[in-house]
């Protein structure tokens, strides 16, 4: 949406916007580049949400770094599981002995086991996965094999 300064016949320019507490509405300020007269447009909750549903950030929240993965889903979905685990470090290394033990599992579950044990190791801050850590993870996760 654009606005015209009737006195100067100039298109007003965006100055800033301010999201209300709770993010339901926004006040968007425009000013004439010539006479500096300003106006504020207030959006209602529905209009704000239409823009948010594009998966973009708006208002003061838009002083952005790169958005987090799945930011829109995590920000908007009601009834979510507890916050997803966030891993910052590199993936733990699997030692040769651990890989050998993994290879003994049925081939169609190896990827799943690798992921579960990898997650466990990351949560514990282990840099590598050894057979001993596999045993620890198996016991902690209540798995009967591997």
């Amino acid at each position: 949406m654009k606005f015209l300064c009737n006195d100067c016949q100039r298109v007003m320019e965006f100055v800033d916007n301010m999201a209300s507490e709770g993010g339901g509405s926004m006040a968007i300020r425009y000013a004439c580049p010539n006479c500096e007269r300003s106006i504020s447009m207030i959006t209602n909750s529905g209009e704000t949400q239409v823009v948010r549903s594009l998966g973009v950030t708006i208002g003061h929240e838009a002083i952005h770094a790169a958005p987090e993965p799945m930011a829109m889903i995590r920000g908007a979905l009601a009834g979510q599981r507890t916050a997803p685990t966030v891993y910052e470090g590199p993936e733990p290394e699997w030692t040769e002995a651990a890989l050998k033990r993994l290879a003994a599992a049925p081939v169609f579950v190896q990827g799943m086991v690798r992921r579960l044990y990898g997650d466990y190791a990351r949560q514990k801050g282990y840099a590598e996965i050894t057979p001993a850590i596999m045993t620890e993870a198996r016991d902690a996760l209540g798995m009967t094999e591997m």
Partner: protein
């Protein structure tokens, strides 16, 4: 005039992210029908497992936002979604199939998919829900660290509208695999879905007739389940390749419910062989 939120640029960045992810995936295939209840999700899970058994790196994106089932059918429900610097880590299911589904985000089985509405305008959610759910699909595609994949199967919900959305988000789609059952009513609905996919510019990879008879679990015979639906003739009429028929085996329902795709344990049954043959045909079509 400047927009400090720079919404246009944010949208362009989103598109770029999807393009970068998909560049590492050899084939992106939508499994669609238009019709509900044709066994599309179970067939997608089994097809993914069959491709995995054949040595391919496979992912499944569950585009059925309100009825997600892929994680359960691939035995990946318990894992949830973890966030890493490279993106959201998909769950890993049977046969190493990587899975992203709304099911992985939800608290429990009693929690429906619903969206928060700042400002309390619950009655107006219909205004923006469609856009938001299109962006769920975009986040699933662009924010998931799929890694390098040979095949990404997208399990589409019933109806044709989400397919058009998918084509807009992922125009580099390899094509659509269309599922029907031997019923004239199914063909009637699937016919519209095929035309809709054509209008959206999607390559149509082929038609599969699911639930084509009831497999005798003691032997090799196939009993008629529906009257002959004439899927092959239907495929010819619709100018789409006929990729074969998959008989129904009651064990498929049981194993898939248990999160263990049927084809893993019953590959040498009429239904298992048909699913493996479909995997081979899909490979051929995409070569």
């Amino acid at each position: 005039m400047t927009d400090k939120s720079d919404i246009l640029n944010q949208v362009l960045v989103q598109r770029q992210r999807v393009a970068e992810r998909l560049a590492k995936i050899e084939h992106v295939v939508a499994v669609m029908s238009g019709k509900g209840g044709v066994g599309k999700s179970a067939l997608t899970a089994n097809l993914a497992a069959a491709l995995g058994m054949r040595g391919w790196a496979v992912g499944v994106l569950d585009a059925d936002i309100h009825g997600p089932s892929a994680a359960a059918m691939l035995g990946a429900r318990g894992q949830g979604v973890a966030m890493a610097p490279e993106g959201a880590l998909p769950a890993i299911g049977m046969a190493d199939v990587r899975v992203m589904s709304m099911d992985l985000f939800l608290e429990d089985d009693n929690t429906p998919v619903s969206w928060q509405h700042p400002g309390g305008l619950a009655a107006d959610t219909f205004v923006w829900r469609g856009t938001l759910e299109a962006n769920v699909l975009r986040e699933f595609l662009g924010d998931t660290d799929w890694g390098t994949l040979d095949y990404l199967l997208i399990d589409m919900p019933p109806g044709a509208d989400r397919f058009e959305t998918l084509m807009r988000i992922a125009p580099a789609l390899s094509g659509a695999l269309v599922i029907t059952i031997p019923s004239q009513v199914s063909h009637m609905v699937v016919r519209r879905a095929i035309q809709s996919a054509r209008q959206a510019g999607a390559p149509l990879l082929g038609l599969v007739e699911n639930m084509a008879g009831l497999a005798d679990i003691q032997g090799e015979t196939i009993q008629e389940l529906f009257p002959d639906g004439g899927a092959q003739a239907f495929a010819t009429e619709m100018e789409i390749a006929y990729l074969g028929k998959i008989p129904f085996d009651p064990r498929l329902a049981r194993t898939t419910d248990a999160g263990r795709p049927f084809v893993l344990n019953y590959g040498d049954t009429p239904t298992g062989r048909a699913i493996l043959a479909l995997a081979r045909k899909l490979e051929e079509v995409l070569t």
